[in-house]
Structure formats: structure tokens, C-alpha cells
């Protein structure tokens, strides 16, 4: 069998676990501030330090957020919810156990739809549960010690676990982007991977294409971006194939992704084999979710990205690309709609938002709301271009000046005298001059070579300092020559 045939004979099976920090004001079980970037061990109290005699009390907001996420995942919200202790001994966990959920998570059996080359695909969600984050460890190898900061301890997390439904690294990447966008729309987290607000672990195995049982899986950790998740999965699938094709066996283990070297390496932790010994946490009573709570949270659900995309295409007649770029940014999508309310030119507005505005946002590294532009401001600018007061190029310059100064398009056009010159008398003087200076081109036009008119328009534009209305110039030049 050739190598190509062998590699085609395998199917990849991937399941992902996403940990999302919820952006509540306080931690999940105590009133300490849920804040990133404070001085070490300053957002800590006896509860999150796990001191004896303290009792955790669930933050109501975390439960509502978890239900919100569950509903957005099309999941079943458990009417009965409880918390369990997951026992492991590690200094980032001061109690010696993590409060998590075992058999009655907030949500189970949902799905996320992703786009693939073969059309939409449904990725099953096994469960979504609440738990507390652990502290942060910093290691000092030279001094043979580790330092612990417990500020992050007790940060509310929701863990979202997929079914083993993903069939490639690319599909996993698409799922993560789809999920992240949805979570951003829900407004339950800043979803910032650099700050660790969103983290992803992956389980991967391969099996013969016709097989229905699973191969031995490995667990991948330490991927700090979705791109890293994709690379780590691609690498690991290749490694599995290589090991199996050379007659070896995959060992079930946890591997860390080394982004610099682009390889997975075995974890070198002193931690023992995991034996979590889950049991119900006696410190927390169970919770019930009734239809009233469900209705309340459901009413707060925003329009989700997939639905918005379809609506933008239908309602505004946008193509899928334009609608897709707008929907990628919830604030930009909202801005687009408020522009459309007072100026019924969706395609033109989308072009400005996805072109010049997006460029400004990227260059200034800010979101649309930080640009300080109102929809009224932008429409005034677009209208100036559409009415021929500004050339398209000048329009973009005016936008930059508007954002720099906070002034309106009208104010800037007046100040900078950027308005297009459409005054016949002024333009005619320029046209006459150009015609005199370029007898060859004039002769060509007279012989029917109209392309030469473009040359003359260009010369006239230059003469006007770029301010002449090119359409008007073309008219005047053609008229002048044909009447000469």
C-alpha cells in the first residue's frame, strides 16, 4: 500500500474543551473583585484562599450567565443543578479540590452549527458547566521554588465540552471562531485569549476510516491562540499516523504544545495520575432553574451571529461576504443598522464600514465605538461623496481628518477646501489651458481616439490639485474639442 493510500485510510476525531472566564464583578463563590492585572494576592479572602471554616456562596450572575450560554448552545438546561468537588493536590488550588460540576451541569446536549466546504455541520455540545478557576503559578528553577498568586482563584469559569464530532484541525479552528463570536455577542466574557479569558484544550485520536470505535486519544494543552490549536492538532494527527503506520501504539497522555518549536511534548509534572474522586460539595446546596428564570434569560438573548448574517443578506440585500464582515463585529453591525435607518443605501454603507472604517479601526487598534464617530457623521460624509462634493479618495482623507479632530465632514471640507470644483467657469479655464498645451492628444481625439481624453482629464486633475470633478472635466473637454 502506498503512503497516500494509508493516510487516506484514517479518520481524525477531535473533541474540544473551552474554558471561558465570565466577566462578573466578583468571583464565583466570594465577593472578591474578579479582575485581571492586579498586584499579586490582593483580590483574595478567606473563602478563595480556602481557609478552614469558610463557606462558598454562589454568585447569582454566574448562574444566569451559564444559563445564557447554555441556551445559546441550543442545550438542555438542567432544572436541578449541583456542585461537586474535584480533588487534586496542587499549589494553584488552595483547598485541595476545585468546585466544579459532575453529574448535574448547568447545560447538556446542545449544538453549534459551523460552515464547512460541504455545507453547514452540526457540532454536538456534550455539556457546559460552572466551575472555579485556579491560581497562577510562576516557577523559579534557579531558586528551586514556585510562587503562587491566588487572585485568579475563584474566577468564574464555564467549561464547554464538545462531542467528538470534529473531523479535522480546520473544522476545530472554525468551530472555535464560531463559538467565540457567539460568546462575544452574549457579552458574558471579554473572550481575550491573551489574558487567558478563553482557553482551549483538545482531545485527538485517529481511526481507520471505516471504523466506528475510537482510537487512543491524547490530550493537548497550552495552546495560546486558535492558530496554535490548529497547528497543534495538525502536528498531533501527523504524529499519530506516523506512530501507527510504523507499527507503534499511541499512549494516552497529556501533551503540551510548544509554539516556538511547533511540537507537542509530554508534560513533566510531578503530579500523580489523576484520581479526582468527585463527590457532592456539602458546602453548597443544590440549585433549581424554573421556567420563569429560563424565560427571563431567553428574553435577554441577543440576536446571535448566524441569525444576524441571514437577516443582513435578506433585509439589506448584502452579499454574504459584506454581511459576514459586518457580523464579525457586533458593534459594527449595530452601527451599520443605525446608519441604514436614516440613509437607505445599505451596500454603500457596508462598503464604507468594511473598507475605510475598518482600515481606520485596524490602524488605530480600536473598536468602532472608540472611533468616536456617530452614524450621522458617517452618513454626512457618504452623502458628500455620493453628491459629488468629494471624490472618493478625498472622502477617505476627510474620514481620517474627522477621526483625528472630531469635526464633521462639512466642517473639514470647508476648512481644508477639499470640495470638488464643479464650477464650469473655473473648470473651463483649466480645460482651455490643457487643450492648448496638448495639441497631439487633441488631434487624436478628433480622429476618434477617445482614450486620449482620459489623458487630458488626468492632466486637468493634476492642474486643479486633485479637486476638479473628473466627470465634469470629461464633459467639458469633449464638448470643447468637438466644438473647436
Amino acid at each position: 500500500m502506498t503512503h497516500k493510500n494509508m493516510s487516506q485510510a484514517f479518520e481524525t476525531v477531535i473533541g474540544l474543551e473551552v474554558h471561558l472566564q465570565l466577566s462578573t464583578k466578583t468571583k464565583i463563590f466570594c465577593g472578591c473583585a474578579n479582575m485581571f492585572g492586579s498586584a499579586p494576592n490582593t483580590n483574595v479572602c478567606p473563602v478563595c484562599l480556602g481557609l478552614p471554616g469558610t463557606l462558598p456562596v454562589l454568585n447569582h450572575q454566574t448562574l444566569l450567565y451559564a444559563i445564557k450560554v447554555g441556551l445559546a448552545l441550543n442545550a438542555h438546561i438542567n432544572p436541578f443543578i449541583k456542585f461537586d468537588r474535584k480533588n487534586y493536590y496542587y499549589p494553584d488550588l488552595p483547598k485541595g479540590y476545585q468546585i466544579s460540576q459532575y453529574d448535574f451541569p448547568v447545560a447538556k446536549d446542545g449544538f453549534v452549527m459551523i460552515k464547512t466546504d460541504k455545507g453547514p455541520k452540526r457540532i454536538g455540545i456534550k455539556r457546559a458547566h460552572l466551575e472555579e478557576d485556579a491560581g497562577k503559578l510562576m516557577h523559579d528553577n534557579t531558586d528551586n521554588c514556585s510562587l503562587v498568586d491566588y487572585n485568579r482563584t475563584g474566577t468564574p469559569l464555564i467549561e464547554i465540552v464538545t462531542q467528538p464530532d470534529l473531523r479535522s484541525a480546520g473544522e476545530s479552528y472554525d468551530y472555535l471562531n464560531t463559538l467565540k463570536l457567539m460568546l462575544q455577542y452574549l457579552g458574558v466574557s471579554d473572550c481575550d485569549m491573551e489574558k487567558g479569558s478563553l482557553r482551549c484544550d483538545a482531545n485527538v485520536s485517529i481511526r481507520p476510516a471505516e471504523s466506528t470505535s475510537f482510537g487512543t486519544k491524547t490530550e493537548l494543552k497550552n495552546m495560546n491562540s486558535f492558530r496554535a490549536v490548529k497547528s497543534a492538532l495538525e502536528y498531533e494527527v501527523g504524529r499519530h499516523k506516523q506512530v501507527i503506520l510504523s507499527g507503534g501504539k499511541i499512549v494516552q497522555e497529556t501533551l503540551l504544545w510548544d509554539d516556538q518549536k511547533s511540537v507537542t511534548v509530554a508534560m513533566r509534572s510531578k503530579e500523580q495520575a489523576h484520581d479526582y474522586r468527585y463527590f457532592p460539595d456539602p458546602d453548597l446546596v443544590p440549585f433549581t432553574v424554573d421556567y420563569k428564570v429560563l424565560d427571563q434569560v431567553r428574553a435577554e438573548l441577543p440576536e446571535l451571529p448566524g441569525v444576524k448574517l441571514e437577516r443582513f443578506i435578506k433585509q439589506y440585500g448584502l452579499n454574504e461576504y459584506d454581511a459576514g464582515v459586518l457580523v464579525m463585529d457586533q458593534a459594527a453591525a449595530n452601527f451599520f443598522e443605525s446608519c441604514c435607518e436614516s440613509y437607505n443605501q445599505p451596500k454603500k454603507i457596508a462598503n464604507w464600514l468594511n473598507g475605510a472604517m475598518l482600515k481606520e479601526m485596524n490602524e488605530r487598534k480600536v473598536g468602532i465605538s472608540e472611533l468616536g464617530l456617530t452614524s450621522v457623521n458617517l452618513i454626512e460624509l457618504i452623502k458628500s461623496v455620493e453628491d459629488g462634493v468629494l471624490s472618493h479618495l478625498a472622502g477617505k482623507e476627510v474620514l481620517t481628518l474627522m477621526l483625528d479632530s472630531g469635526k464633521s465632514a462639512g466642517q473639514i471640507i470647508q476648512q481644508q477646501s477639499l470640495a470638488q470644483v464643479s464650477d464650469d467657469a473655473v473648470l473651463m479655464a483649466i480645460v482651455d489651458e490643457i487643450i492648448q498645451q496638448n495639441p497631439t492628444a487633441v488631434e487624436q481625439i478628433k480622429q476618434g481616439k477617445f482614450a486620449a481624453a482620459g489623458f487630458l482629464v488626468g492632466q486637468a486633475m493634476k492642474k486643479s490639485g486633485g479637486k476638479a470633478n473628473p466627470k465634469k472635466l470629461n464633459e467639458l473637454i469633449t464638448r470643447r474639442i468637438s466644438h473647436a
Binding site: T24, K25, T26, C30, G31, C32, A33, A39, P40, N41, T42, N43, V44, C45, P46, L49, L51, V57, L58, N59, H60, Q61, T62, L63, K82, N87, Y89, Y90, P91, G96, F104, L137, M138, H139, D140, N141, N144, C145, S146, L147, V148, D149, Y150, R268, S269, K270, E271, Q272, D275, R277, P280, P282, L284, V285, P286, F287, T288
Partner: protein, 94 residues
Amino acid sequence: MITKKDVQYIAALARIHMSPDKLQGLTKNLADIVGYVEQLQKLDLKNVKPTSHAVPLTNALRQDTVKPSLSNEKALSIAPQTRGGCFQVPLVIE
């Protein structure tokens, strides 16, 4: 049946240092306790709903309102070793 090996395993998970002379006695004690609880296995519980909490209460929640935290000095005052505002522990990764 609880064996010496079980006791050693649980002690290791809980990071309890146990002298070998205590192992024999602890194994017997633990076996007695588990044996006592094992009597429950004889009960027919087919129609009994699992108890997840001894107290008949639900929905003990608090509002998402910030309360003062401990000062760094106070938080670290219980630590045997500290450095740079952190708790210092033996190196946990080689």
C-alpha cells in the same frame, strides 16, 4: 475489602505522611468504617431518589457585589514562606 495498598494510595493522594508502624492500625480502622457503611448496600433503594445534600435547601445565592478583600500583608501572614507578594512553595515542575 480495604488493603494496606488502598490506605497508602489514599494517603499519597492527600499528601499525608504516614509512618509504616501506623499503617497496620489505620488499615484496620478504615476497613471497620467502610464495613460499617457497607451495611447500607443491603437496602433496596430502587424507588429512592438520590440525596445530593443533607439540608433541604436550594438556591442559596448572593448578589454580584464586590466586598473588601484581605490586604496582601494579611493574606500572606499565614504563609510559611513568601516572596514578591506571592506564596512561596517548593518547585512543582521540574
